[in-house]
């Protein structure tokens, strides 16, 4: 009994002590906003051994998008830390962003709301706009000149335009995924089995979809295949509902994407009569069951698992997701005779044709206003410039030579026989978590990322070859579409919900209903969105032709 009592009081005392400590912290952290960040990172300042050195180090906190989010964090023995400490006098703390875009937005905005943003952070454009409105993000116009080498490698007019808001650049935008990295794919072996030609027009494509659904193209005697495969993948700039995977179909009607950015027709595609026809066509695909009926419920993984199981014969897919070794291997094992070929988008009734809108994609690294106020500009540019130096680039992109990679006869980094510790191995890949901060889609990266290999069934495959083929397809240039204003959440919901209901039959697709939809859309803010978008295109010279 007494023991219990004493225990309780000890705990009581501890808790009071704890509260006391925290109040100290509270006062200090309000006095100096940086203190809490520094304390939180605590990477070396607390350890006794390095306390003498750390006095001279400038702390920099970085919130980055990890290259392999599902693997562990950047290990503390990453060799880059030593270089940063000893040669540049920087104490850099790296924190990986959460893996989903929504989580990232929440996390960064919460940090922003508490005026607690890290010095450098990766952020998407919508969130960046919100933060700029709050005055939390520093202008980086002058920083480009302070890091000439990195600017030469990563930044150009377009990338600067991507982060320009009210005449200032608020963030360093480096190349993201490669433009034009998706294409329309069709099962060549199914075409051959059924004696069909490669479709070029929308009508031919439709016939092939019907044949793929009804005529047992894989010859397994079961009615278990579909013509087209898709899943819903939308955003508010270039991938409007029903999403990226159906863009080639929309393209045949000349309404690919949310916006039309040509001079004569600038505005939302949804106002064009062809959009109605496109939705009617997709509805027909859905009703006839020639599109995998799961398409409205599939996630990306389900979709990718489905084509590897031979469920459908036509799809729009990304080059590496289709052709890189680890992704293609299961398909090859399941269907040694299976073969996908890349075809161009179908030509529609009015001669329109497009795989989809073509825009550069960027990763934005923004600098917080606090970091600039604290005089860290120089340290930050020094850090970023080093990251793009030969040494920094290799350490961030591939790890340590001889440990994580070796150079082949062409001077390209390869995994060699380094096994688990190689930059693609399960233990070594965490050393490349920072590579998104330095990669620029250069030839060396592409060659090492997309090596040519031979499949088990003896096919020679290369994701790089697939990429080049895809880039050569018919695309609609829409540079800068991702900077266009986004609709309010209600307008977006109305847009997507109405289109979805028209396709699934929740709302009858008739010209009257369509007109009612457009009217209501305009009333709740759709028209305003359209007008803002057109104005933005004019102001920023984004109109084509």
């Amino acid at each position: 009994m007494k023991k219990l009592l004493t225990a309780l009081f000890v705990v009581l005392a501890c808790v009071t002590l704890f509260f006391g400590c925290k109040k100290d912290n509270a006062s200090s952290s309000t006095a100096a906003p940086a203190a809490s960040t520094a304390a939180a990172s605590s990477s070396s300042s607390s350890s006794a051994s390095s306390s003498s050195k750390s006095a001279k180090l400038t702390p920099i906190s970085v919130l980055y998008g990890a290259s392999v989010t599902e693997a562990g964090a950047l290990p503390s023995d990453w060799p880059g830390y030593d270089v940063l400490k000893n040669e540049l006098g920087l104490d850099v703390t790296f924190t990986a962003l959460p893996s989903s875009a929504n989580d990232q937005a929440q996390r960064i905005q919460a940090m922003g709301a508490a005026d607690n943003l890290p010095d450098i952070f990766q952020v998407d454009r919508n969130v960046l706009t919100n933060l700029v409105r709050q005055g939390l993000v520093a202008e980086v116009d002058d920083m480009y000149a302070m890091m000439p080498h990195r600017t030469e490698m990563l930044y150009d007019e377009n990338s600067i335009a991507h982060t320009t808001i009210n005449g200032h650049s608020y963030g360093l935008a480096s190349p993201g995924s490669i433009a034009g990295n998706e294409g329309l794919l069709i099962r060549k072996d199914w075409l051959d089995n059924l004696g069909l030609d490669v479709p070029t027009t929308l009508d031919e494509l439709y016939d092939v979809m019907v044949a793929f659904t009804k005529d047992d193209p894989d010859g397994n005697g079961r009615n278990d295949t579909y013509g087209y495969g898709a899943y819903i993948e939308t955003n508010t700039s270039d991938k409007g509902y029903p999403g990226s995977r159906l863009l080639p179909i929309l393209g045949a009607f000349g309404v690919e994407g949310i916006w039309d950015m040509t001079e004569e027709n600038a505005g939302l595609n949804i106002y064009k009569p062809e959009f109605y026809d496109a939705i009617a066509f997709i509805k027909k695909m859905h009703d006839e069951g020639i599109i995998d009926p799961n398409w409205l419920s599939y996630g990306k993984d389900d979709f990718r698992a489905a084509w590897k199981q031979g469920r459908f014969g036509i799809m729009k897919e990304q080059n590496a997701a289709y052709a890189s070794e680890s992704n293609y291997a299961p398909f090859d094992k399941n269907f040694p005779d299976g073969e996908w070929i890349i075809i161009d988008a179908p030509i529609g009734p009015n001669g329109d044709q497009s795989i989809g809108p073509w825009d550069m994609s960027y990763r934005i690294y923004a600098i917080s206003q606090n970091a600039v106020d604290e005089g860290k500009t120089e340290a930050i540019t020094k850090f970023l410039e080093w990251m793009s130096s030969d040494e920094g680039y290799m350490l961030a992109g591939f790890g340590e030579e001889g440990v994580n990679y070796v150079l082949d006869e062409n001077g390209l980094p390869v995994a060699g026989d380094l096994g688990d510790m190689s930059y693609t191995g399960s233990k070594g890949q965490v050393y490349t978590q920072l590579r998104n901060m330095v990669f620029y889609n250069g030839d060396m990266e592409l060659a090492s990322r997309y090596p040519t290999y031979t499949t088990e069934s003896g096919k020679e495959m290369s994701a790089l070859k697939a990429l080049r083929e895809m880039q050569a397809l018919t695309w609609t240039p829409q540079v800068g579409v991702s900077t266009l204003p986004t609709p309010s959440a209600d307008v977006q919901r109305y847009y997507e919900q109405s289109l979805a209901e028209f396709i699934t039959g929740g709302r009858a697709l008739t010209p009257e209903n369509w007109q009612a939809f457009i009217d209501q859309f305009n009333r709740i803010g759709g028209k305003a969105w359209n007008d803002q978008g057109v104005q933005w295109m004019k102001d920023n010279n984004l109109l084509t032709k």
């Binding site: 952290s29 392999v68 508490a114 890189s324 890949q429």
Partner: protein
């Protein structure tokens, strides 16, 4: 009273959950038979309904990359199962760290939560306490007014906890829901026990430890389990407050990253959705779906192991014994 507790402890596990006295042979009527049949049918139906989807998820976690058939069929074809997904998960560089971090949150959280909840629940169960109504209102207001992410974030930042593990469990260290449930159970303990203890000269703190706690093991275990699971599964606060920085004890790097398991799992679950560089597969040969399913079982293991131990406290009529003694 001590005898009563001792007697309660001595009770053997009965044939069913009811107190031992219930298992004496009595003549069952037709209605009793119907009742038993209904209970058993309900139990069997529940078993089937719960078991099949669980089993299919379990089967999915052993799916091989080249298995062509549906998830349904995979449930039966046990011979096609491969442990690739589990191998890949255990090989993940961050897995052990995440486990350790999760355990720190779990233990810190449950200890704090019980230290706070038990006295609070006891205080609320003392009906003669002047001002009890105000304490009730004090705890109900935050329960219904969930003011959301930012007001709480500002507090955590204000007390300097951002980036530290207590930030994950302290803001949720007491749940009004659990507190009121526990109070409800405390109220179920007969007053004459407390009264006689008071007459014996025990003070309130002694009553709490000597009378209430020994008689409330089932509810303390239950509430402890509720807390444990909520801390173990807490993704949101960890995502908001932690930074994946190392945890150091006296300068020694205990773990490289303080991200707990739910963050790692979320990263795994969302990974293929975000990863631009789809050519790298962090999990070797295992299909993403199998990884997802396997991650569930891996993360639930501690709770699955702990539950039977907690269940032990559910098979004793502790209270009933006490009253009679």
């Amino acid at each position: 009273m001590a005898e009563a507790v001792a007697k309660a402890k001595k009770q053997k596990a009965p044939r069913n959950l009811k107190p031992e006295s219930m298992n004496k042979k009595v003549k069952l009527t037709a209605a009793d038979h119907v009742f038993n049949i209904c209970v058993n049918i309900f139990m069997i139906l529940t078993l089937i309904v719960i078991f099949i989807p669980l089993w299919s998820t379990f089967a999915l976690s052993f799916r091989s990359n080249t298995y062509l058939h549906s998830q349904f069929r995979g449930m039966f074809e046990v011979w096609t199962w491969v442990p690739d997904a589990y191998k890949a998960l255990l090989g993940n560089a961050g897995f052990i760290d995440a486990f350790i971090s999760s355990f720190m949150i779990l233990i810190g959280g449950v200890v704090c939560a019980l230290i706070l909840t038990i006295p609070m629940a006891y205080v609320l169960s003392v009906h003669t306490l002047p001002g009890r109504k105000w304490i009730n209102i004090l705890i109900m207001i935050p329960y219904v007014f969930n003011v959301g992410m930012i007001p709480a974030y500002l507090l955590v930042k204000g007390i300097g906890l951002i980036g530290h593990i207590p930030a994950v469990f302290l803001p949720g260290a007491i749940s009004t829901y659990n507190c009121i449930i526990m109070k409800q159970f405390f109220e179920g303990i007969p007053n004459d026990l407390k009264e006689s203890a008071r007459i014996d000269g025990c003070n309130e703190i002694q009553i709490l430890f000597k009378i209430m706690l020994p008689l409330s093991k089932a509810i303390i275990m239950t509430v402890g389990l509720f807390y444990a699971v909520s801390f173990w599964n807490d993704f949101f606060h960890a995502m908001l407050y932690l930074s994946g920085t190392p945890v150091k004890i006296f300068g020694w790097n205990m773990i490289d990253s303080n991200y707990p398991l739910p963050i790692l799992l979320r990263n795994i679950l969302m990974a293929s959705g975000m990863n631009e560089y789809v050519e790298v597969n962090a999990f070797g040969n295992a299909p993403v779906q199998a990884i997802k399913a396997a991650s569930v079982f891996m993360s639930a293991i501690p709770m699955i192991i702990a539950y039977p131990f907690i269940q032990k406290y559910f098979t004793k009529g502790t209270l009933a014994g006490a009253v009679k003694g």
